[in-house]
Symmetry: C2
Subunit: 369 residues, 2 copies
């Protein structure tokens, strides 16, 4: 059974909606935030901790897993789920974003992308067919098509070429993808240019995928511009399929994305800032490394029910982080992921009660970006 | 209630014995290995994981906690147990070993030791009274007296002076120690010189402590020499009090220490080598980073019941460690501590059945040092 989406309820004030995405490894309640497990592990935490904090699906990175330990090795281990001891749903990206980020190390043609490994400089060639082979070997529940992600800012002709390649490559991916339970999602590109987003949405939706992602955002453009692109792009995607905004994970963007009809999000932000000693609180971000928390014996957030907040003080977590003790970044990671998972749960509840507009206003009255 | 020791059974072939040490935070079954939690955390793992792997007591380091976050802050947090969310027994060392290890950074007099912080170079002065103040503030169940640990090798006169200072300081520690439930243990020094060990044992036992440690071993001397020192030193300690061999943690040394009547051990070895990608197996040490385990999908040890062995393969753990992923060193740390805790449990069972001699022979037939 590939991923099947069921739309449950639409908000009347905004484009927000709740749904369920069913996969062979369990159901995902949308809108959902997906923690990123780049190298077959969500940095610092265990699968049990992920379950405990409420994560329903995680993301794996094709580029990284291809290089280390290798997709063939993961397949030999019985697939990514078994290899990393996570029995819930997994989505793998296509590696497109990563290889296009390797500026000086890559060369693009219509056939595919030649790039050098960031680990040992070795040369590799990704084509849509190769990426499908890798993603099928990894065996995630949802695979993403291989796309070209244009940077921001960028010349129109480059965005245009990326849109065209993304369409051709999506067709080649669909052709090459053969898997009993893995769903293949298409990706819409087009930068911040309305006409190109419209073209890409037409190209990709006409191929027919069980889910659609919006790529090429959150790559440096201002947030209002990203919201504008979502405003005109989301309505171009079929209502009966899940919509995934790639690479977005700050709390304010999640709320705004949901308001525009997005169902799925992923980002390294919550785990990355956690490792720097920054945590989410209802008022925004709190830098727990700061001296002002040295003797603060209250939890990160009095009203948070995560493992870190139930058992540890800001003073202790600060001490651990100042001393480079791993438990410190484990606790901030758990808290930040729990914060986002909990935010999405509350968003779903609000939509269910048709109060999402109110929820959104209250959120922004408190949360300082 | 300070720590109370009850001798339960003595082996007939060796000096091994089983007992129970009761503290306000629970009972400890001896012989016991104590994981080291230097900076108010056993590196990489949580208190729940420690409980789960069977740890009954952990160690905290006075020197490190004094410098960061400061004993006054820990006291303000409600003591070390509460600060670090560990409700089982804790033992704090005296900081003696650490400040004497700071070679160029310290100056010793009969009054105490002036040393510089390894963190910021600031100057500090430890006296027996100061150390008692710190250990009482930390509030562990067992505190260690402030001693002078002579290095190895070392001139006789230096060992002699260390033995004398250790005696004077032990008396001053006993005088200064006032705590309702914390037990103060004395430390016997004397290097590898029999007469000095005898003198130190007389000095320290005559003061009367609820437990005795043997310090100044495992500081670079050959293992046979350490065993020899234990052979003549342990019998000088009262039978009705627990005996603690400081800084020893390799599996072979635990077995040999137990055979000579030692009840308690601590060492950073299992957690330190874990972070380097080395794990204990019944045959000795296994370097899981090695290429030969890249496609080894079996657990570290088929017969081990730890969290790492129940859920993950060598290939996966190797992958994590090669990628510097924290979960990798969490898993090797859990495994190594579980290995030692389990070893001690099996040792206690063997002594209980009066089969420790056999256990010891079988252990060494398999374990390659």
């Amino acid at each position: 059974m590939p991923a099947t989406y069921t739309l449950i309820k639409k908000d009347t004030e905004t484009a927000a909606r709740v749904g369920v995405l069913q996969t062979s490894h369990g159901s995902i309640h949308t809108p959902v935030f997906m923690p990123v497990g780049t190298q077959a592990t969500v940095k610092t935490i265990s699968p049990e901790e992920l379950k405990d904090l409420g994560a329903e699906i995680i993301l794996g990175n094709t580029y990284h897993l291809y290089l280390r330990p290798g997709h063939d090795l993961v397949a030999e281990a019985g697939g990514l789920h078994k290899f990393m001891h996570w029995d819930g749903p997994i989505l793998t990206d296509s590696g497109g974003f990563q290889v296009f980020s390797l500026n000086d190390l890559r060369k693009i043609s219509d056939e595919g992308v030649t790039f050098r490994s960031h680990i040992d400089g070795s040369s590799h060639f990704f084509t849509p067919e190769k990426v499908m082979e890798i993603e099928m070997a990894l065996g995630a529940d949802i695979a993403m098509a291989f796309d070209e992600c244009a940077p921001y800012p960028c010349e129109i002709k480059d965005v245009q070429r990326a849109v065209e390649r993304t369409a051709t490559w999506a067709a080649r991916c669909k052709e090459a993808h053969r898997h009993s339970y893995q769903a293949l999602f298409g990706i819409v590109q087009g930068g911040t240019i309305r006409e190109l987003r419209e073209k890409s949405a037409r190209d990709i939706t006409s191929l027919g995928f069980p889910g659609y992602a919006i790529g090429g955002l959150s790559v440096g453009e201002p947030k209002p511009l990203m919201y504008q692109v979502l405003d005109y792009t989301v309505p171009l995607l079929p209502e009966d399929k899940p919509r995934y905004l790639m690479g977005v994970g700050s709390p304010d963007c999640l709320v705004e994305g949901v308001a525009r009809g997005i169902d799925m999000f992923d980002c390294v932000l919550p785990t990355r800032i956690a490792r720097n000693g920054t945590v989410f609180v209802p008022e925004g971000k709190l830098v727990i490394r700061n001296a002002e928390y040295a003797r603060d014996f209250s939890p990160i957030d009095e009203n948070c029910s995560c493992y870190a907040c139930r058992n540890y003080s800001r003073a202790y977590i600060r001490h651990l982080i100042k001393c480079n003790e791993v438990l410190g970044i484990r606790l901030t990671t758990i808290h930040n992921l729990h914060y986002l998972v909990d935010l999405m749960k509350n968003i779903r509840l609000a939509i269910g009660e048709n109060k999402f507009g109110e929820f959104r206003r209250e959120f922004f009255a408190r949360f300082k970006v």
